[in-house]
Amino acid sequence: MWIIKGLRKGVITSDYPKKVSDDELSPSFPLKAPAECPFGAVEDGKFDLKRCISCRLCSVPFGRKLDVDEVTNPLNFKRSLHVFFLDVGTCHACNREVAQLHSPYYDVHRLGIFFTPTPKHADVLLVAGCPTDGMIPVLKEAYELMPEPKRVLVLGACSSGALCERKVEDFVPVDGYVAGCPPNPVQIIRGLLKMAGRDVE
């Protein structure tokens, strides 16, 4: 009986944003700024977290970190948020992490975050991947189709130009990013809540 199995399992959903557990964050984020990076995350001596692919080949300590985002232009919604996810050339790991937002562990509906099948109903365009030739027109069109007010949140290092020649901001205005390769589901939720103008602390 499915219902018995569910009751036996109990509630497994994350307590985030009230608190976050070690299981929800992988220990692969740099805790200090490295002096150099083989993949271009350090330029002119300045470390750019959003381009870090967490390869752990540099000589800084790595660990768990929730605060890996920056939202420069949040909405003032406070409540629900509708999101259209667009893959413009990922390795599929970001897709899996975004899909996990609907799993019982993260269940973003509890936070009023809903994914839409079309950009016409979306407040936020959530973009992941290196923009490829085939996806650049699709990216621009998806942005054009969104109603105002609209925002773009990019996910992962490659959408910010790591390992790629292009980045998403070359084609549409970007209002925030969540770093990581790929970002963990709670980090994505944090970015979305911040984009909605909601309290994440």
């Binding site: 499915w2 692969s28 080949l57 893959d87 390795c91 897709n95 799993s103 490829t132 996806m135």
Partner: protein
């Protein structure tokens, strides 16, 4: 059982890789033209030839993707449909051509591996396994034993993901959530074991890096839960009926299209590179019906086998000789969807040329063959039963032709 496994372009010629799945013997051949095999165009990324429009048809072509909600990834299918019958279909490759293969070249090999892991994130263990198989000069048994466990763990979460998606397509809402949670459970084990949810950074030349071996203890609970969920899921006649006879591939289709992995084994063709991998002792799980249900049953059987393999091994950090072989060398690994092939050319310990062939590049064509004649509502059951993705299908080669 010799199959055409990959085609690259090198030195102005086509470089073909033929693989005998009985012995594991691979043959590399340079040719001026494509070989006369049905899968040959797909292996160089061209799928137009697979769209056969029946003469006099009233069917209407429809492009599904690359941003349509159903696929959830940058890829597309061109579908010829009349009402709801799928008359003809082909996968459209190229939306995920990122040129990542070039980013692997002429770097220290650790860096090349870091890029390779990001070629197809959910098959990272398989690609690094195949790459290191190709390039390590003195493979160490203990190192490979741990790599094998990581590969089987990757298989577990990918199989759970495929079952979650199949259950979701059949609106088995509770079952789909249970399997999605199981997938996350395995990703959390990966995170503790390797420091990364997809195992990036664990496989290095002559070395496997494990941070927290105790995380493997959690697997016992996952195994018990899987057994319980499996019994419940297979009792659902509604679910089973949706998969039975859907997207059927015959044994002849598999042989004609050189299909690999789950697609082949579901049609009683035992293609599994673990059978001739020296670090495995493995007999493939097969099923003869060739439909989506057969592929589900193979996944369920393979989950069981993965648990057995993992339980028989100790997971810990191991280091050995990191020296590498120069020249052009081939490596294979059996990922959850089928085998992945890496052809790597090293010079002075650095990668000068690389060819990658994911199982998705071949098996999307097999899926297209199987789903032809089915109705459109069968599409997700057929597609998810193969467990493919376009990031994998769009990988090809980097370096001078």
């Amino acid at each position: 059982m010799k199959a055409l496994s990959a085609i690259f372009k090198k030195g102005g010629k086509y470089l073909t890789v033929w693989l005998d799945y009985n012995t594991g013997k691979a043959e590399l051949e340079f040719r001026d033209s494509l070989p006369d095999r049905k899968i040959a165009p797909a292996l160089i990324g061209e799928t137009g030839a697979y769209m056969k429009i029946p003469p006099g048809t009233n069917a209407v072509p429809l492009t599904f993707g690359p941003a349509a909600g159903g696929l959830g990834q940058a890829g597309a299918f061109e579908i010829l449909t009349y009402g709801e019958r799928i008359v003809a279909i082909r996968p459209v490759y190229g939306y995920k051509r990122r040129g990542l293969e070039r980013a692997m070249l002429n770097r220290p090999i650790d860096e090349s591996l870091a890029v390779l892991e990001r070629a197809t994130g959910n098959f990272a263990m398989a690609y690094t396994y195949a790459f290191l198989k190709a390039v390590e000069a003195n493979p160490d048994e203990e190192v490979w034993e741990v790599r094998k466990v990581l590969l089987e763990l990757e298989r577990l979460y990918n199989h759970f993901n495929a079952i979650h998606k199949l259950a979701g397509a059949a609106s088995q809402k509770v079952a789909t959530m249970h399997f999605h949670a199981l997938e996350e459970d395995v990703l959390r084990i990966f995170s503790r074991l390797t420091g990364h949810r997809y195992g990036f950074g664990a496989n290095r030349p002559g070395e496997v890096r494990i941070l927290e071996p105790k995380a493997m203890e959690r697997l016992r609970g996952i195994k018990e839960e899987f057994h319980s969920l499996r019994e419940e899921l297979l009792e659902s006649k509604i679910f089973i009926d949706r998969l039975h006879t859907t997207c059927r591939l015959t044994r002849e289709d598999v042989m004609e299209l050189d299909a690999v992995g789950i697609a082949a084994r579901g049609s009683s063709v035992p293609r599994d590179v673990r059978t001739f991998d020296r670090f495995y002792s493995y007999k493939p799980v097969t099923c003869k019906d060739g439909d989506a249900l057969a592929r589900l049953m193979i996944r369920i059987g393979e989950v069981e086998k993965s648990f057995e393999i993992i339980e028989g091994s100790e997971v810990r950090s191991v280091r050995s000789d990191p020296s590498l072989k120069d020249g052009l060398n081939l490596g294979l690994a059996e990922a959850s969807h089928g085998d992945v092939l890496v052809l790597a050319e090293l010079e002075g310990g650095r990668l000068r040329w690389i060819g990658l062939r994911g199982a998705s590049r071949i098996n999307y064509v097999a899926f297209a063959k199987g789903i032809t004649g089915n109705i459109f509502t069968d599409f997700p059951f057929g597609l998810e039963s193969f467990g493919l993705n376009f990031a994998d299908a769009d990988l090809w080669q980097g370096g001078e032709d």
